[in-house]
């Protein structure tokens, strides 16, 4: 088991290394001099040269890559060109919005998706199944940012139950903060819930046709009992796989949703600094997102191997 985990960890490190080279190379070809952006157009060439030396921009690309990547490994993400503060501080501030929102959305998506999927499978072919299957088709087709706008129109502008945007902050406790994250989390969760419901339904239907369910039925369990005691647990495998694959979509979705609801999260930081050409922030935030995606897929692989020992030998 440990060998398997370490082997996958090696693959993860290689992917991260290649990703960092790719991100650095792309940012390298972007036109514009960061020193000029920081100092403005009327800066003297001498002041620019001093700042370039201070930022380490006068060195060759390999030396700069090594110092950037080395910094990333130590948790030093560089200094923002526009804010003039460490990127790590900016990121930490924004994570206090993005991570709770993603977790909130994930919990909603799991709860809604698993219950709806299990219900549809248990009532296979009936009106409930038909309704849920139809709703999941629509849920997958709706763009989450449009759904977010509709939620704002209904619950913020018309009913005034939730704020239309912005983040209340954690200083007054979790209540106001979670209140302002509710609509964004619902918008983010809907497509994920629809996908999870479909996978759960298909997986459960498949599991319920297996021999061990027949055995459970033969020893006297009702169909519902067999489904609850043996079916659900065994149907979760494919759901877990899809959940890992969806992590990237959840992160990308969070970037858009933060912009719809004007939430000061990581995605909004990425877009604001992209517009401001603050490339240190852009490359570090992109690497952080890639790291999150790769780490989640590693965790899913390990969880899968724990659940199913047959996989460890591959």
């Amino acid at each position: 088991m440990l060998r398997y985990a370490l082997g996958r960890l090696l693959g993860l490190s290689l992917t991260l290394f290649l990703a960092s080279v790719a991100v650095f190379t792309v940012v390298e070809v972007i036109p514009g001099d960061p020193a000029q952006i920081m100092l403005g157009m009327e800066a003297t060439p001498e002041a620019r040269a001093t700042l370039r030396a201070e930022l380490g921009l006068d060195r060759g690309p390999v030396a700069r890559y090594l110092s950037w990547a080395g910094g990333l490994l130590r948790g030093d993400l560089g200094v923002s060109y526009t804010y003039r503060v460490p990127v790590a501080d900016l990121v930490a501030e924004r994570l206090a919005v993005s991570v709770p929102m993603a977790a909130y959305a994930l919990i909603l998506a799991l709860a809604l998706g698993l219950i709806a999927g299990a219900l549809a499978a248990a009532r296979r072919g009936g009106p409930v199944d038909l309704l849920i299957t139809g709703l999941t088709q629509i849920g997958i087709a709706i763009p989450n940012f449009w759904f977010g706008m509709l939620l704002v129109l209904l619950f913020a502008i018309t009913l005034r139950m939730f704020p239309a945007g912005g983040f209340a902050g954690w200083q007054d406790g979790p209540g106001p903060a979670l209140h302002s994250l509710t609509l964004p989390a619902i918008a983010l969760a809907l497509p994920q819930a629809a996908i999870l419901a479909r996978v759960m339904r298909a997986s459960l239907i498949e599991v319920m046709e297996r021999d061990f369910i027949r055995t459970a039925r033969a020893k006297g369990l009702s169909r519902g009992q067999a489904l609850r005691r043996h079916g659900l647990r065994n149907a979760l495998g494919p759901v877990l796989t899809i959940l890992g694959l969806q992590a990237a979509f959840l992160l990308a979705g969070a970037i858009i949703i933060e912009n719809v609801f004007a939430l000061p999260g990581l995605g909004r930081l990425l877009f604001q600094q992209l517009a401001a050409r603050d490339l240190v922030v852009v490359e570090s935030v992109v690497m952080l997102l890639v790291f999150a995606v790769v780490l989640i897929s590693w965790c899913v692989d390990i969880a899968y191997a724990v659940a199913d020992p047959r996989l460890r030998r591959r």
Partner: protein, 270 residues
Amino acid sequence: MARLGLVLGAVLTAVFVGAALISLVWTPWPTDGVNIAASLRGPSAAHPLGTDHLGRDMLSMLMAGAQTSLAVALLAVGFGLLLGVPLGLAAAALRGSWLDAAIMRANDLVFAFPALVIAVLITAAFGPAATNAVLAIGIFNTPVFARVTRGAALSLWTLDYVRAARLAGKDAARISVEHILPNIAPILIVQASIQFSLGILAEAALAFMGLGAQPPQPSWGRMLADAQTQVMRAPQLAVLPGLAITLTVLGLNLLGDGLRDRLDPRRAPP
């Protein structure tokens, strides 16, 4: 029931493709004609779906937006197929070699980047444009096609007729093109339909974020971004473009599911 889905999907897709094609030669009103005096009109005989905040005809904007959606998603699928399928075929033909390992490693690398993040990087380097949206979605599609191709091709390489072709003296490249490719085509068609509908959603998202089509090129995502700035004054502007995206993607998904049931022998309808 499955038949109903297929028919509904085909009809919705036909409306979408039809609107896009007609908009190439004709729209009820020009989409670049700003007319503030006629802004935010309700539905009328002249403007069946009303006008937007700049007085542009909504129906014409939606038709031209369909064209942008169709073009970007189609080109992105083409990009993914042209690059991903040969890579997948090569990886399967040379299974276990360093080239196979390198191709699969490159796949993992691209998979680690959400499409939106690829788009952010491309925009940072080349500026926002619909062509860059094609590039971003196309790059995202490539490993998907490579993986599906490799997986499907691997199982075919063990079959007798491929072995027979080997014995007949054909090399791996020729077998891949003449025997493997035609037999995995149904799987690729189904995957292409999935990537196509994902591409519509991605194009809308990128345009919404300002990373895709730029004004005056009409795009459903851009229309929604504009609507967001008008949401207090004219909430109705936010409804139609979103509905167009949802119905199009729904139609393509239903059509794709129906096609899969017909093309994939393992999923033959009961």
